[in-house]
């Protein structure tokens, strides 16, 4: 059981980290609370299914194309529905909820409510210190870590990253430094949706694809960003693993645990809001200005 908890905790944590960091990033840079974030993650899974099952692509090619398509979908949705109302935060929140519902209904209409699946890229397993580890799990972990390291490098070591971080801290001053803030927001959104798409692509072979698969990760992601501190990337990263392991422990160690993982995540979120509203690494609102 221990090894299952460790492996699943790591996988859950990495997938949540991909989702939550992207969500935090776009909130930090554009102040957009993107509820449709996990709907885009679902879209990536469906695109893989479409490429693999309908168009006969290899799983890897289908995964790559689905990531690109999802990023394009995210950017188009932003331009059409979010950008015109970006200054009104509550309107943006409602618009992203509506967008998520629309994406869900489109997939429901197109594919029905059936559980779909794609085959794993890697089959078989190997033994490590007496523990059986599926090759697919290792692949998923590797891809997730690569995506996380890539994002860290992009944000911390490149010009684009510096521009994004400055825009997140003070948009008006970033403007005055000659930074095209709209371009930085588009770049941040591209990275954010790209991370969700990678999560969707690596999760597709591990679980079933259905039009409601975005709801549980949404609950977890919101709990994670509240625990980590809204807008804090470091906080999102650490909290992802805290909740990823909590979920694994609940599922494997408690009877009927699979039904409890959502409520437990939400309870953690409520507790954090009561005890430390700014989260583990968030900046308290008084400090900000």
């Amino acid at each position: 059981m221990i090894q299952e908890i460790v492996i699943n905790g790591l996988i859950n944590g990495s997938i949540y980290a991909l989702l939550a960091i992207g969500f935090s990033l776009i909130f930090g840079v554009a102040r957009v609370v993107n509820i449709a974030h996990t709907a885009l993650y679902m879209a990536a899974s469906y695109f893989i299914y479409l490429g693999f099952d309908y168009l006969g692509m290899s799983s890897l090619l289908a995964a790559l194309i689905s990531i690109l398509l999802t990023v394009a979908l995210g950017l188009v949705c932003y331009q059409l529905f979010i950008k015109p109302i970006r200054e009104h935060e509550s309107a943006v929140l409602i618009a992203t909820i509506a967008l998520a519902m629309v994406i869900q209904e489109i997939f429901l209409l197109a594919f029905g409510g059936n559980y779909l699946g794609v085959p794993p890229l890697a089959t078989g397993y190997f033994m490590l210190a007496g523990v059986k580890i599926a090759n697919q799990h290792l692949l998923v972990l590797g891809a997730a870590f690569l995506a996380l390291i890539g994002t860290w490098f992009l944000l911390m070591k490149t010009r684009i990253g510096l521009g994004i971080r400055c825009t997140a801290q003070d948009r008006e001053v970033a403007n005055l430094m000659g930074i095209n803030v709209n371009r930085e927001i588009m770049a941040a959104l591209g990275i954010s949706v790209g991370m969700a798409a990678v999560a969707g692509a690596i999760v597709a072979p591990l679980s079933v694809i259905d039009p409601h698969m975005w709801l549980h990760p949404l609950t977890m992601m919101l709990a994670i960003v509240v625990l980590g501190g809204l807008g804090s990337i470091k906080g999102s990263f650490i909290s992802s693993y805290i909740l990823g392991f909590t979920e694994a422990v609940v599922v494997f160690a408690l009877p009927m645990g699979a039904f409890l993982k959502g409520p437990i995540a939400l309870s953690i979120m409520i507790l954090v809001l009561l005890i430390r509203p700014e989260g583990l690494f968030g900046v308290s609102f008084e400090e900000e200005r």
């Binding site: 010009r159 400055c166 008006e172 970033a174 005055l176 430094m177 000659g178």
Partner: protein, 255 residues
């Protein structure tokens, strides 16, 4: 007569029924320093914000090098060659000081094609050296004192290699010694030339300032505003003797 760099014609800004800037017109010549003075609430900072495109004018026009810049985005105006510093300093607090300056060195205007991060870092270091705070380059911007924050603002502004620099109260909150040092830096910057990898065009300047004694030493011309209206424009010693200016500062009858 030198060619004018900035022309402000009939500029007005209204917030509801309040005229914050009212039909202001003046020109700034190449390589000139204008001191912009006026009592609190005269509309000086608003005027700078209008030039930077942060606020949109209600009437009138602003031309920079013959080009109308009304309605342009702030980043486009910066890339045309105007930079400004804030009265209330707003550094990127959670970033190291060097990164604060790298951002401005990264703007398309200051960047040569294909420049690498390392080169930009070196350039930012030169800007910090010019401003006199290079020894603190790696510390977080939130650790800086008031005077050093002013220096950081200057370093960030010159990182964009501007032709026109707008300084909002560069001496505000500084001790007499710091004020002297800052005035010297401004003069040195105005001379132009190369500071390491950083090129200074010897920018023209508009300086908003309340410390008139210091301002008179560095300004070629003084423009005075009161209640959003231009009340005087001329040589420093003429303007400070202007009865309207004295009245604006000290009330009717002056002192």
């Amino acid at each position: 007569m030198a060619e004018s760099l900035l022309e402000i014609v009939g500029l007005g800004k209204r917030f509801g029924g309040l005229h914050v800037t009212n039909n202001v017109s003046f020109e700034l010549n190449q390589h000139e320093i204008i001191g912009l003075i006026g009592p609190n609430g005269a509309g000086k900072t608003t005027l700078l914000r209008l030039i930077m495109g942060i606020l949109k004018p209600s009437s009138g026009s602003i031309r920079f090098k013959g080009k109308n810049i009304n309605g342009l985005k702030t980043w486009d105006i910066v890339n045309l060659g105007i930079a400004c510093t804030f009265q209330n300093m707003r550094p990127f607090r959670r970033l190291p000081i060097i990164a604060n300056v790298m951002v401005s060195c990264m703007c398309p205007r200051a960047m040569k094609r294909g420049e690498w991060v390392k080169r930009i870092e070196a350039k930012a270091m030169d800007a910090l050296e010019f401003a006199g705070i290079s020894d603190m380059a790696l510390e977080k911007a939130s650790t800086l004192s008031q005077g050093d924050l002013k220096r950081l603002e200057i370093a960030r502004a010159i990182g964009t290699e501007p032709e026109l620099l707008l300084l909002d109260e560069p001496f505000g909150g500084l001790s007499p010694l710091e004020t002297d040092l800052m005035a010297k830096s401004i003069k040195r910057l105005h001379k132009g030339g190369r500071f390491g990898r950083l090129h200074s065009e010897g920018p023209s300047m508009i300086i908003v300032e309340h410390k008139l004694q210091q301002l008179m030493k560095i300004a070629d011309r003084i423009v005075a505003l009161s209640f959003g209206t231009l009340i005087a424009d001329g040589k420093p010693d003429e303007v400070v003797r202007n009865p309207q200016v004295i009245e604006a500062y000290f009330g009717e009858g002056g002192i």
